[in-house]
């Protein structure tokens, strides 16, 4: 049922895009189309056969693992079932570059799959998802089993305490105290490294940590400032951020290990949205709403053999400029399509 709907949408969108260009049989010509400069609609580019991008394009949808419980990054709206957040926006911007369309319409061609921390690697390895965009900190252990594009964001690990707490001003102050963080987070390792005498309590998620903090079972919760900001934003009378970050957490896009062409494509696309302004827009509409200031764009880490070399597959469609409205072009497309139809 869902598949059928997507397929219908796919046909409609392809038809519209094609019709808008007046060249339904060759969508790639859209790269130079006028509407592309006016709005954010992109035509689907052509990729070399055998690449992951070509495969995704062929199946007409991209499967993306995101968090469903991470405010600001990937959080499911219980009313609509829609997932929202910065990670989701990044996923859409990636999808547009492969499947064409604009960030609104492309949503129908993305299958979001909830990825909790512990199933991220198997999801990628088994091909259950094409990419994981889920507050996924790049580290060497993980790089042994999967690869990362990015980082597309660098979070800073900080400490959250109860509003009335004045005893904790830096990570050192956590020594001898009970601190909460989530299982398997790099936050745990950082605390153990920087406050070795802290008593670290580990839960499945940060909701439990926040509860334990409010219940005075622990004196502090420590993890990425972006995550903590969400909690402080919702309970400003109870909680506060220490605001003394002690480590960098580069978030990357997880993909299958050894898929260099795909990784380069993702990195190139990230570079585009960094420079094109879409990255900043995405931040403002999501994390910015939690009171976080838009930071500088991060520096990509094109590690390994592939290095920074670009390949022919990076010939994506033109990037949409900031500003122009997608709806204008869509309207134009549908009117054209109705006139041809």
């Amino acid at each position: 049922m869902r598949r059928t709907r997507w397929f219908v949408w796919l046909v409609v969108v392809v038809a519209m895009v094609g019709a808008a260009c007046g060249e339904a049989d060759d969508p790639t010509t859209a790269t130079g189309g006028d509407d592309n400069e006016a709005g954010s609609t992109t035509a689907a580019p052509t990729f070399d056969a055998g690449t992951t991008m070509a495969r995704i394009q062929q199946k007409g949808e991209i499967t993306v693992g995101v968090k469903y419980d991470q405010p600001g990054f990937g959080q499911q709206d219980p009313a609509t079932g829609e997932v929202e957040g910065f990670d989701v926006e990044i996923a859409k911007l990636i999808a547009v570059a492969i499947l064409g369309g604009d960030v609104d319409s492309v949503e129908d061609k993305i299958e979001f799959v909830e990825s909790v921390s512990k199933n991220r690697e198997p999801f990628i390895q088994d091909g259950r998802v094409d990419i994981v965009v889920a507050t996924y900190t790049i580290n060497d252990t993980r790089k042994q089993v999967i690869d990362f594009a990015g980082p597309y964001f660098v979070a800073k690990q900080d400490i959250m305490v109860r509003k009335d707490d004045t005893s904790i001003k830096a990570v050192d102050d956590l020594n001898g105290k009970k601190v909460c963080t989530a299982k398997g987070s790099t936050s745990e390792k950082n605390i153990r490294a920087k406050a070795p005498r802290a008593d670290v309590l580990l839960f499945d998620g940060y909701d439990e940590c926040k509860e334990a903090l409010v219940d005075e079972r622990v004196v502090a919760v420590s993890t990425d400032n972006t995550i903590l900001a969400g909690y402080v934003d919702r309970s400003p009378d109870e909680l506060k951020l220490v605001d003394n970050p002690f480590s960098d957490e580069p978030y990357g896009i997880g993909l299958k290990k050894g898929d260099e062409a795909f990784r380069d494509f993702l990195n190139d696309r990230l570079e585009e949205i960094f420079e094109g302004g879409q990255w900043g827009d995405a931040f403002e509409s999501t994390l910015g709403q939690l009171g976080l200031e838009t930071p500088d764009t991060p520096t990509l880490d094109r590690y390994g053999a592939a290095g920074g070399a670009t390949t022919s597959t990076t010939g994506t469609g033109g990037t949409g400029g900031a500003g122009g409205s997608g709806s204008t072009s869509t309207t134009g497309a549908s009117s054209t399509s109705s006139s041809t139809g």
């Binding site: 512990k118 252990t141 089993v145 299982k183 580990l202 439990e208 334990a212």
Partner: protein
């Protein structure tokens, strides 16, 4: 692994005691005790263990009942398991011929005495095998203690999977760990069963 073992053994010992007392309540001639026993069993066995675990840990702090993580896990696992022990023991009690209890009372034993001296020892024989299943279920249920930050076997596997970014081997390891605990338990149950059957 040692935490899983400690958690399981402590909880099972407590569950046996509580469960047997609750079973006695359930067959008691005193109506309020029967009702209390039934309420205990129905409430505990019909709520998911994870809900009990998190509810007790986070919920009860709101009414100022506060225990550490391990203690909470033991309390919740004991209470939850006791409801299954109670039903198992009650079935065992019912399986003992009615005449046994009547004979016990007719020589002047009080109801609790007749239960303790005559009925329960006979009930325990039929109850050994099903209690073994309850015990093995408890071994596995102890994995939910990880929800409240008790580092038992599953939680350990969780951590190793994160540290190595290889969850499959980590959880396979945990599975082997549970098997190593459950299989000997099954063997011990078999042994106890044969021992209980000899005197029949």
């Amino acid at each position: 692994m040692s935490i899983t073992v400690a958690l399981t053994l402590t909880s099972f010992a407590a569950a046996l005691v509580i469960g047997t007392v609750v079973a006695a309540f359930r067959v008691s001639p005193v109506a309020p005790l029967r009702a209390a026993g039934a309420a205990w069993v129905e409430v505990l066995r019909n709520i998911p263990l994870s809900v009990l675990m998190l509810g007790f840990y986070f919920g009860f702090t709101k009414i100022d009942i506060r225990y550490g993580e391990f203690a909470t896990a033991v309390i919740v696992l004991s209470a939850y398991t006791s409801s299954f022990v109670a039903e198992t023991v009650r079935a065992g009690i019912n399986s003992v011929a009615r005449g046994q209890a009547e004979a016990a009372r007719s020589i002047g034993l009080t109801f609790p005495q007749s239960l303790r001296v005559v009925v329960l020892p006979q009930a325990m024989r039929t109850v050994v095998a099903p209690l073994g299943s309850v015990f093995i279920a408890l071994i596995k249920n102890s994995s939910l203690a990880g929800l409240i930050a008790v580092v038992e076997l599953t939680d350990m596997a969780d951590r190793i999977s994160f540290d190595t970014a290889r969850p499959i081997p980590a959880f396979l390891g945990a599975a082997v760990g549970y098997l190593l605990l459950a299989l000997p338990s099954g063997a011990v149950v078999g042994l106890l069963e044969r021992r209980a059957a000899i005197k029949r």
